[in-house]
């Protein structure tokens, strides 16, 4: 607390109250949303902004989305700065001009007025199940322009001084294959905004705006100070790392994600020069998401209690040349942009591994695999939108984690039984994959496999995955995780699909699709891994006895580690390597 006029107790009380409001907003969306991707996968976020439009609290939602609210607010204020009235509610999804990330992510933002003055903002965004475009789910990989991807909303008023914009609502309703889900989810977002407004007003009433302002400002300043302190502890220098996207279609050309992380004193500059140019496909990643993951990656370098407000983003600068895949120009298609965003996170962490190896994590599954299967069944439209996540790479002192959301997201999975009960699909398995975690002194998290069978007559299917040619990296002699794989069995014949098929595929009844994710990268030399831990992995069926012997150099006999044989095997492996 630098400002001595502030009471440290009130400060803490206000901070708690704000985050509790943002969580309450998140709860309302989860419980009253209609679409599986929002209610089950929890692909949505909530935040509160202060009177300057700066984030002051984040709900327990998705880091990759939370860091994009600043861009959205900046555009909103630039356009409506002098025209924000009590009872207004703003809506947008445009990645080129309103701070959106891709069209399915619709932002709903409500200003909070107290005694006639604009005091803050209740902010929500949610991934909607369909906003039109060429394929169900609105995430077609093969779109070449955003105009093919569905309904684009610049920053507009969904409510004007309390009056609903029925024209706009009708347009939205007519431009989605899932009007009930989309309008239902929008209602949930609106309700969350009202809840946020109510909570924020309570605080204003309790303390008075003038008394509250210095606390809000100090919250931002404290977050900034703490972030600067974390950065100061990272040695100065420029750390470079390239990570790669496998590329598009049947003959993929690798796409380079280049980062140069420069730490100087208490500031970080992330320069993405050298990154590949934008492409004729839907994976171009608008800058708001790139900013968001970059903030997240740096924020992850500490587990101290930095307040989750915009102040911590201040010492972080991101530069991405226009026209690259990390700062595409309109009208680049971007519906499936997530893969790039998550790879920017991996690349920044990879760069920092060179200098703060104890704080980083080896490569994980690479972000969500995005899958849409849709069509008509029994005269009704159906869409399954899956955002599948699954593992972490290893840490300096801990194994990776299997069965967990990507650290830059906070997604959930959709229950198999709900999918089967509501959609013409069956799930044949959902399981961990042995020997998929990158070997290391600390092992990477295991991959998962999930298999779908269509029971409707036909459907259209789009897929975005990655990490087959460029699997998740290991750190400090840790091995990479296993590559991802997509298998489609169509009319009895099985083919391996590209990671990013550049077309919508037609499925027939009985066709089976299996996605195997990439495994998490390992950390450190596998041959120094505690043999008992290797044994435990073998007992659990997570590592095969053969991999234990060949990669870890651990020989297991009769359910026990054979210490002498292990020593010999490890020595032989070392010799062979030299």
């Amino acid at each position: 607390m630098t400002d001595r006029r502030l009471d440290p107790i009130t400060f803490e009380v206000v901070k708690n109250a704000l985050s509790s409001i943002a969580d309450e907003m998140a709860l309302v969306i989860m419980r009253s949303a209609y679409s599986p991707v929002v209610r089950d996968s929890m692909d949505y976020s909530t935040a509160l902004c202060d009177r300057h439009g700066q984030i002051i609290a984040q709900g327990l939602t998705l880091a990759v989305q939370l860091g994009a609210f600043p861009d959205g607010m900046r555009h909103l204020l630039a356009q409506y700065g002098n025209d924000v009235k009590e009872g207004d509610i703003f809506i947008f999804n445009d990645p080129y001009g309103s701070g959106g990330q891709h069209l399915p992510d619709i932002y709903v933002i409500k200003p909070v007025f107290h005694e006639g003055a604009l005091e803050g903002w209740a902010c929500t965004m949610a991934h909607h199940s369909d906003v039109g475009g060429i394929t169900p789910g609105s995430t077609a990989m093969h779109a070449t322009e955003i105009l093919q991807e569905g309904l684009c909303l610049p920053t507009l008023k969904l409510y004007d001084a309390g009056k609903p914009n029925t024209t706009l609502l009708k347009i939205i309703e007519k431009n989605t294959r899932q009007p009930v889900q989309v309008l239902g989810d929008l209602k949930a977002q609106l309700a969350a905004c009202s809840i946020g407004e109510r909570g924020y007003l309570r605080l204003l009433q309790k303390y008075g705006a003038a008394a509250l302002h210095p606390y809000l400002d100090e919250l931002q300043d404290q977050a900034e100070r703490m972030m600067r302190a974390v950065i100061r502890d990272i040695p100065d220098g420029t750390y470079r790392f390239d990570d790669w996207i496998d590329g598009l279609g049947d003959t993929p050309e690798p796409i380079r994600i280049a980062v140069a992380v420069t730490v100087k004193g208490d500031e970080v500059d992330i320069d993405m020069a050298g990154t590949s140019g934008q492409v004729q496909a839907a994976i171009n990643c608008p800058i708001s998401m790139v900013n968001s993951v970059a903030y997240c990656a740096i924020r992850c370098m500490t587990s101290t209690g930095i307040p989750n407000c915009q102040g911590y983003m201040r010492p972080i600068k991101i530069r991405a040349p226009e026209g690259t895949i990390v700062n595409p120009l309109s009208p680049a298609a971007c519906a499936a942009r997530g893969v790039i965003g998550y790879r920017v996170f991996d690349a920044i962490v990879g760069a920092l591994a060179q200098v703060v190896p104890d704080k980083v994590i080896a490569g994980g599954e690479g972000g969500p695999t995005l899958l849409s299967i849709g069509g008509r069944h029994k005269n009704k439209a159906f869409v399954l939108t899956e955002v599948m996540v699954g593992n972490w790479g290893a840490r300096a002192t801990k194994d990776g984690v299997e069965g967990i959301s990507n650290p830059a997201a906070n997604l959930s999975n959709q229950p198999v039984e709900l999918i089967e009960a509501e959609l013409p699909l069956e799930i044949n398995h959902y399981a961990l994959v042995p020997d998929s975690g990158g070997a290391g002194r600390q092992r990477g998290g295991l991959a998962f496999s999930r298999e779908y069978r269509l029971t409707a007559d036909e459907a259209v299917f789009t897929l975005r995955s990655d990490r087959r040619d460029h699997p998740p990296y290991g750190i400090a002699e840790g091995r990479a995780g296993s590559p991802s794989k997509n298998l489609l069995t169509h009319s009895g014949k099985t083919e391996v699909l590209p990671t990013m098929p550049m077309k919508a595929m037609n499925l027939k009844k009985g066709d089976v699709f299996r996605h195997i994710s990439a495994g998490g990268g390992g950390y450190g030399d596998p041959q120094v891994r505690d043999a008992e831990l290797v044994l435990a992995d073998v007992v659990a069926g997570k590592v095969s006895p053969q991999a234990a012997r060949d990669i870890y150099g651990v020989v297991i006999e009769g359910g026990k580690v054979d210490a002498a044989a292990t020593a010999r095997q490890r020595s032989a492996l070392r010799t062979a390597a030299q």
Binding site: N16, Q58, S194, M226, G305, V416, L418, A421, H429
Partner: protein, 694 residues
């Protein structure tokens, strides 16, 4: 000749103390606190009962009923000390238990680790079979695969087995066949349970987790309750033993042995039930139950005389407020629970300054040993209790009727060195900061059970109990703009009283998942009658008078497409589908702030609950006989209102006339603080009643 007085005993076990409450059919009530015996909790109970019987010159046959709340199941999970457990699943799905729902309970922490699965991977077995979503057999049960799993499980020497097959909520034939086959193969003492018996509901992870927990704690609860029953028999007590469930109803010890997952939160439930009973006695429909002990504080909402319930609960999610956001930090049980939000702030909570330079109270606790610094038992870190001594709220010499001596100087020194100096505050201000902050954290717990459900705390009275509840109650009430605070007599053992007034409950559920417009009224009425019959039969089987059973029907509904349903109470008599639908729209609007009366609605389930009130449960003559306090007054600090010479009185001193705060009410098991500006008196039932001013 006067009828012989019978006694019912409530036994509430906590980590530090076991509370006993003895209620006579004549209305007399005696309470007792004895030390818990964690190595064998039953011993402490038996010793306590023997002591009470001797003191009151009662015979074992005078005890007519025992109701028990125990943390045995929770502790088994928290300490990972349940039975070695195996799991059988449909082929392809043994990892569902470990994959969980993927969510991370904390943002931006790359060092996070998940809770380990309660069944390790090598004890999770898959068999060949498959049900379709509607319950149609897609692939018949392959007995050879069952035999193979059975052989492995028998060899593994596990003590418990859970069986969860896909879509068994729709068709349990395969699950039951597997259970039967395995029972035949496994030793008799292996606890076997299947999901259809414990949670026949859609969503495989939650169902599997719940079933696994039932198996995991099964052998532990069975041996504990078995041993306790043996000890009671040894004392000559033949009265039936019942156990409180997490939902506040009681079940027989036999039922608890079969379905131990139902008793995981029996302790916290008891306090809320006591509170609900008190609310009904006072004719107050809406109260917030607030219980603050040594390590945690718990809040729950009572609306229209009923404790609010939930089916979303995670054991060991840590002390958290947003468990409703599927944080993933613990082990989910999707069974009826009283909706209690719990946070790590109690008398023993350690006070410290975190990395950000901000003050924190808890969640680490000094416990009873070493305890707060002022206890002088080796505590090295200042606690909430130390701050209360500095403020003058707690008696600086001794508490618990002189039993626990306090060293006020140690408390002062610790708060000064570790809180005041680092924050640049005066010592009293620092201690008051601890008080304010703890109250603010607890405010969050109260909000989690009220505003998070669309309820306004200002419409409620706050009933505070537990050893530390009465100290903080008024401060919390002020933060939430609540006007009335009530402190029941014997607040320290109030939870145990809840055991004596809890009703016996049985319920039956039928799952529909059908659009309301497509329902036939005759079908749903027939289902309702069948469920009522089932419930009545359950009471009759336990030898109860079914005429005294009160029935409550609820329908759970949601808009088509939603994932979470809301309950609506159905009026007795014939069912009005239109009224049910409108009631749902209204509840949705109330809870979430919006509704869609035009959208189609699904009826998810119909539930009938039967309730049989505990017999002679009115404790009118509860221990009002507190002795007048000896101290006259002491200096106490009230933040902005400064230092006040504050009268220290007993509860009895409040009888007859209201007093103006500041006042401190000292009792054997707690201390109530009434700040300046508030009025305090006694209500006709002996509760301390505070009128809170902002």
């Amino acid at each position: 000749m006067a009828e012989r007085v019978g006694y019912r005993i409530g036994i509430d076990i906590g980590g530090t103390f076991t509370d006993l409450a003895l209620l006579g059919t004549d209305g007399s009530l005696i309470t007792r606190k004895v030390s818990s015996t964690p190595d064998d909790y039953g011993r402490g109970i038996a010793d306590g009962i023997v002591e009470l019987l001797r003191e009151l010159s009662l015979k074992p046959s005078d005890i007519v009923d025992l109701v028990h709340a125990s943390t045995i199941a929770t502790n088994a999970i928290l300490e990972q000390k349940g039975a070695a457990t195996a799991l059988i699943t449909t082929r392809g799905f043994r990892d569902v238990l470990e994959l969980r729902r993927l969510r991370i309970p904390v943002l931006y922490d790359l060092q996070y680790d998940k809770p380990p699965p309660l069944v390790p991977r090598h004890l999770r077995f898959e068999i060949d079979e498959r049900m379709a979503a509607g319950g149609r057999v897609k692939q018949p049960l392959d007995h050879a695969s069952v035999e193979a799993a059975a052989a492995e499980i028998a060899k593994s020497g596990v003590k418990a087995l859970a069986v969860t097959l896909l879509h068994s909520y729709a068709n349990a034939d395969h699950e039951r066949a597997v259970v039967e086959a395995l029972r035949a193969k496994l030793p008799d003492d292996v606890f076997v349970t299947c999901s259809a018996d414990i949670l026949p509901e859609i969503r495989e992870y939650e169902r599997t987790s719940t079933t696994v927990i039932n198996a995991y704690v099964g052998p532990v609860v069975r041996s504990y309750l078995g041993a306790l029953a043996g000890k009671l028999k040894g004392l000559g007590i033949s009265a039936p033993l019942t156990v409180m469930q997490s939902n506040g109803g009681v079940m027989t010890a036999d039922a608890a042995v079969r379905k131990p997952a139902y008793i995981v939160e029996s302790g916290p439930a008891a306090g809320v039930i006591a509170c609900a009973h008190l609310a009904r006695r006072l004719g107050r429909a809406n109260v917030i139950s607030f219980d603050m002990g040594g390590t945690t504080a718990k809040a729950a909402m009572i609306e229209d005389g009923e404790a609010a319930r939930t089916t979303e609960y995670e054991v060991g999610a840590g002390i958290n407020l947003s468990s409703k956001l599927v944080k993933g930090g613990g082990y989910p049980i999707k069974l009826p629970f009283i909706d209690v939000s719990e946070i790590g702030a109690g008398g023993g909570s350690i006070v410290n300054i975190d990395d950000a330079g901000t003050l924190k109270v808890g969640p680490q606790s000094a416990g009873a040993v070493p305890g707060p610094m002022c206890y002088g038992l080796g505590g090295e870190r200042p606690t909430f209790t130390d701050a209360m001594v500095v403020l003058g709220y707690l008696n600086p010499v001794a508490i618990a009727g002189g039993r626990v001596k306090l060293d006020a100087a140690r408390a002062h020194a610790a708060i000064e060195a570790e809180v005041a100096r680092p924050l640049g505050l005066k010592i009293a201000e620092a201690a008051h900061g601890v008080y304010t902050l703890a109250a603010a954290t607890m405010t969050r717990a109260v909000k989690a059970v009220t505003t998070y459900r669309g309820r306004d705390p200002r419409d409620f009275a706050l009933v505070a109990f537990g050893g530390n509840g009465p100290i903080t109650a008024v401060e919390i009430a002020r933060a939430l703009e609540i006007k009335d605070v009530l402190i029941p007599p014997a607040p320290g053992v109030f939870s145990a009283l809840g055991l004596l007034v809890s009703a016996t409950e049985h319920s039956a559920v039928r799952t529909f998942v059908r659009e309301v417009d497509a329902l036939k009224l005759a079908d749903i009425e027939a289902a309702s009658r069948a469920l009522e019959g089932e419930v009545m039969q359950a009471f009759a089987a336990e030898g109860h008078d079914v005429k005294k059973v009160e029935l409550l029907r609820t329908a759970e509904l949601r808009y088509v497409g939603q994932a979470y349903e809301l309950p609506v109470t159905l009026a007795p008599g014939s069912i009005d589908l239109g009224a049910m639908r409108s009631a749902f729209d209204a509840e949705h609007a109330r809870t979430y702030g919006h509704s869609s009366p035009g959208d189609p609605v699904d009826l998810i389930s119909l539930k009938v609950m039967g309730r049989l009130a505990a017999g002679d449960g009115e404790f009118d003559r509860w221990s009002l006989a507190s002795k007048p306090a000896s101290a006259g007054s002491r200096k106490a600090f009230f933040g902005a209102a400064g230092w006040h010479d504050t009268p220290v009185v007993s509860r009895a001193d409040l009888a007859g006339r209201k007093r103006q705060g500041p006042v401190i009410v000292e009792e054997y098991d707690s201390t109530c603080v009434i700040p300046p500006g508030c009025m305090v008196g006694l209500d006709p039932l002996g509760n301390i009643a505070v009128e809170v001013t902002p």
